[in-house]
């Protein structure tokens, strides 16, 4: 597998360490958060494990040390692209409603 690191370009996957699906942003803690809060449960434990298009965190540990979100298809192994993790959630929040949560 090759991963198009936004910083380094196309690099072999051996340079990266996978972390798992990027399905929800980390919840922001206010004053009275409780661990039973469903948003925390979802953030930590709920994974759709969809067969098909996925967004996954990868760490370019043997490269530029960037965390990237790789967009790929687990059925065809096609890699569509990658976004810097630092930009991923901001971009996702800007997208119109109907494109999220599919």
């Amino acid at each position: 597998m090759l991963i198009p690191c936004p910083h380094c370009g196309l690099r072999p996957s051996e340079e990266f360490t996978p972390k798992g699906l990027a399905e929800a942003p980390r919840p922001v803690i206010g004053g009275a958060d409780l661990p039973e809060d469903a948003t925390w449960q979802d953030y930590l434990h709920t994974r759709t494990n969809r067969a098909g298009d996925t967004d996954e965190y990868f760490h370019h540990a043997l490269g530029c040390r960037s965390w990237v979100v790789v967009h790929r298809n687990t059925l065809t192994h096609e890699v569509y692209g990658a976004t810097m993790a630092s930009e991923f959630w901001a971009q996702k929040n800007q997208q119109p409603e109907q494109e999220t949560g599919q």
């Binding site: 597998m1 090759l2 072999p12 360490t17 972390k19 990027a22 942003p25 980390r26 919840p27 922001v28 803690i29 958060d33 409780l34 661990p35 809060d37 925390w40 953030y43 930590l44 965190y57 760490h59 540990a61 040390r65 960037s66 965390w67 059925l75 065809t76 192994h77 096609e78 890699v79 810097m84 993790a85 630092s86 930009e87 991923f88 959630w89 901001a90």
Partner: protein, 991 residues
Amino acid sequence: MSARLPQPNRLESGGIINRDRPVIFTFDRRVYQGFEGDSLASALLANGVKLFGRSFKYHRPRGILGAGPEEPNALVEVDHGPAERDPNHRATMLEIYEGLETFSQNHFGPLGMDVMEVNDLISRFLPAGFYYKTFFFGGLQAWYRLYEPIIRRAAGLGRPPLAADPHHYEKIYTHADTLIVGGGIAGLTTALSLAKAGQSVVVCEERDRMGGSALWQGETFDGQSGADYVNHLCAEIEAAGGRVLPRTTVFGVYDAGTFGAVERCHDHLAKADRRPHTARMKYHRIQARNIVYATGAIERSVGFKGNDRPGVMLASAGHTFLGKYGVRVGERATVFTTHDGGYGTAAALAQAGAAVTVLDARAEANVVIDGVTVIKGVYAKQAHGRMGLRRVDYDGASNGSLDTDSLLVAGGWNPAVHLTSHTTDRRQSKPVYDPEMLAFLPPELVETEAAAGSVTGAMSTADCLTSAQAAGKKLGGKAVALPTVASALPVSKPMEMWAVPGAGDAAFLDMQNDATVKDIKLSAQEGFKSVEHMKRYTTLGMATDQGKTANVTGLALLAAATGRDIAQVGTTTFRPPYTPIPVGALAGHHRQRDYEPFRYSPIHAWAEANGATFMEAGLWMRPAYYTRPGDKTWLDSAVRETKATRDSLGITDVSTLGKIDIQGPDAAEFLNRLYTNGWKTLPVGKARYGLMLREDGLVFDDGTTSRLADNHFYMTTTTAHAAGVMAHMEFMHQSAWPDLRVAFGSVTDQWGGLALAGPQARACLAKLFPDLDVTNDGLPFMGVLETQWNGFTARIFRISFSGELAYEVAVPADVFEAFWLEALRVGAEWDITPYGLEALNIMRIEKGHVTGAELDGRVSMDDVGLGKMVSTKKDFVGRAMSQRAAFADPDRAKMVGLVAAKPDDKIIGGGILFASADGPFDHTTMLGYVTSVAQYSPLKDRSIALAFIKNASDWHGKTLYVVSHVHGKSIMEVHAESPHFYDPKNEKVMS
């Protein structure tokens, strides 16, 4: 040059062997002579050898079936001593060289008289599934103790080497625009087309030289011989910047244009010709945009009784031995064919002086060859001759018997579609069965793939060249002028005949696994109708050859037996590797000492020279203890080092701790969010102990972090978690808090560090830094100073892991050894004693300090007694989840200290804690477990330990029992107390 010895089956001319260079080699200790360019198979056939080995199950005598990588029978061992005994070489692929020693495999006693051949006589009782069904008798025990060892000895493929592999193997990355798999005439033509268009191309050919069938079919190209035309093509490709790699097997196709290939660099060379320190094999990881499958086709046999007798081979094999090696496989040859292609072989043999008869399965056949007898509408019914073919019976439109010494079978061609199937998951289609061609063809190819040559189903050389031109065009190549091919080889589609009428047992499909026509029928009859089940039931298509000559025939027969079409039955999935590759080639230099890199402290050489014994801590090598005169055991050393430190002054190397430099206006806020405790109020010049949680609320790591300036922090982590903490910080910063203005980097390798510990630590430090105020006021506990040592920056941290008055001093790694030696020199006054991890372990257990043994990913802050280190005024990693009710359960095991009741007892690490010595000792009564053990604590004059136990504080002062189920179930009495054995009020560290 040695004298020429007679080679009875070698022709005086023809082939591309070098008759001026005779080569001496042995097979089963007999000496033979061949020529440079011979394979072991061709050289032995030239010498009249027919018997090459014994079959896997029935131990039937076997000869040669093919002439290339598909060979299932003739597997031999190359033996040059215990470390270089290399089994399962295909005799057809093994190139001979001066001094080559080879042995046949899989027989008990001499090859000609194998006692296990009794299996063949009782073969009717050993059908598919026999082992599964029979050896249930006596149960599993009988299987493991009695049956399996015997069966394993009787059924084997060669013997493994007995010593470590002495060879070098290399891994290299190879990049190309297009990879061409297969260096036959089609692959080379496609490569030339692409190279001329400016693409970088690599052509990999698994055999000893480029050219494929052009080397033996006897056709001419623009008047040139096949070999000459191939040389011309290769020269043109290389002139256009392309690469041509013979002896290189592309064994797998992977994602995103990644391909695995192994190049054999040494195996064909005499030992004297192998350059020392060069690689036996190179593993190429090929990265290419496009791939061309020019993998050719593999001929198949037909199922009839005795079709495995030595002397029965594929027609293309007999033709190859003749055309490429100048070896005539028989004087009275019979060709059994289902299509026109067999006549080309018949003609070539006749021209070489053999008496040839063709048995044509078709009633209608129109090829006429001078001097060749043709019998139409008949099939080979049975071949006779246990050690070598003598006679063949035929039946059909007419019947009879022929005296013959070689039977060449032309049953049709199977395109080598294996590699196109490695990506089945992605393309979601498998090779496609073509009922016209009676063969599986490659599935629909994507735009970066093309196929050329006979793998496409093309039969004549002219058609192969046309397909190559099309493949080149598809991938952006330039048109190349195709040569005029002068051919005398008739081609036609085959007649459908997978097995002859009435074929059953001893009609072999998979020669390597002794799977017969009868076994397939039995499989279908017993309900194993899926091709995957049939494969596992009959073992057809398994082992080293993976059924290259057998698979398609097997599933055609399965289709017939179950009343389905071949397309419905489908194929099993071809997976990498295409042919066996040594694991050594994949491992390369990543083995033994070079498996992983080692990391060394800047004073490693000093420690080595001063009696240190090292232990691995992650990749680091850390001194465990320093042996001094009088130390009898490691424990003597560790206890001596502990006492010296507690009584006066010790010194230890802490360079391996993870060190992270953190800077930026939001650096304090960043730490606030990473650690459970608060950091904004930490003054400049102070250090603080910090605890990190995982997001699920469990403890992740601990360490001290110091504030060097308002916006500048210096963090330390445990040695083991340094890389994990760094990645965690990067993840949180980039994924959750990208707005924080902070930057950080690992400085672990940039700083060397030592700890001075013991009552004289301050005196020693004052002598090292005479201008510095190191009094309790000038440098209080948790104080940090940045100063100079001989013009280099030195950072002094008053922190303690040992429980003594202690300082850690960091200087740039380059000058750390000098600084260490200086500390030893000035510390001599107090008998400064270097201590290792074992002494440190004793001291930190006495102090009740936790390490990775306690922070094992299952404990909460509270469990290790650090529950108060939580700021409730802020967000931090793990905060929400650390408030889960389960973490407040009083039943959770918490840390406790243990002291052995008897002075000589050594508490066992990992032991389980129970309240009673009477048992039962199981999960219903278990209270906790031991995490860290000091075999001897000078403080307690016996063994102590840290452990986790339910209701920990209730047990203080009480008796418990440690039981280890992995150490003989010994029951040891211990007393529980606070884990802070030593200086619980921290008076020493504050002194």
